[in-house]
Symmetry: C2
């Protein structure tokens, strides 16, 4: 599926790290929320409130969870989960397009 | 209005100038198209196919049309029109959030 239908989109973008990471927020009829975003090359740390699933649409990243020693690589078509009230470090190796789903468990 | 409702959103972003300008495409029920995007500081030149209206949601830019000598400043709440099959130069003075509307006249 190349698009989301029957959704609402917040007009203002969310801008992080001086614009190196930006996203637009998508609201679904059932109350779910996702963001569509782009990350420029660099290393970032994000905190989470809700559980998240980060799906890589294009590009390449490496991710390290707080309790892990190793960095794990993800590319287009792959995704990773982050628990609620946690964080993750991410190395963006090339311009990366992602979709983040949020879960109010 | 802070959001667009009952729309479709293309999942993949449009990425220009190595990610310094990115946008997401919004499709409306009536067939209209808009993009929501973010531009990082820099100077860019964009070509147009359809007539466009660029609304600045936050940030600051200066724009020069092809047949104009002067640069014109625009800030949040202001917008400018670009004819179809034309182009414009834009200096982005700070991270700028915009909404571009396209008109198939």
């Amino acid at each position: 599926m190349s698009q989301f239908d029957n959704v609402s989109v917040l007009k203002k973008a969310s801008v992080y790290f001086d614009g190196k990471v930006i996203s637009h927020t998508i609201l679904f009829a059932g109350g779910e929320k996702k963001t569509l975003g782009v990350m420029l090359p660099g290393e970032y740390r994000f905190g989470t409130e809700q559980r998240e699933n980060m799906a890589i649409q294009s590009g390449q990243v490496e991710v390290r969870m707080p309790d892990a020693a190793a960095w794990v690589a993800y590319k287009a078509g792959e995704s990773f989960d982050v628990p609620a009230n946690s964080s993750f470090n991410i190395r963006v190796l090339e311009v990366t397009d992602y979709c983040c789903a949020y879960f109010a468990d």
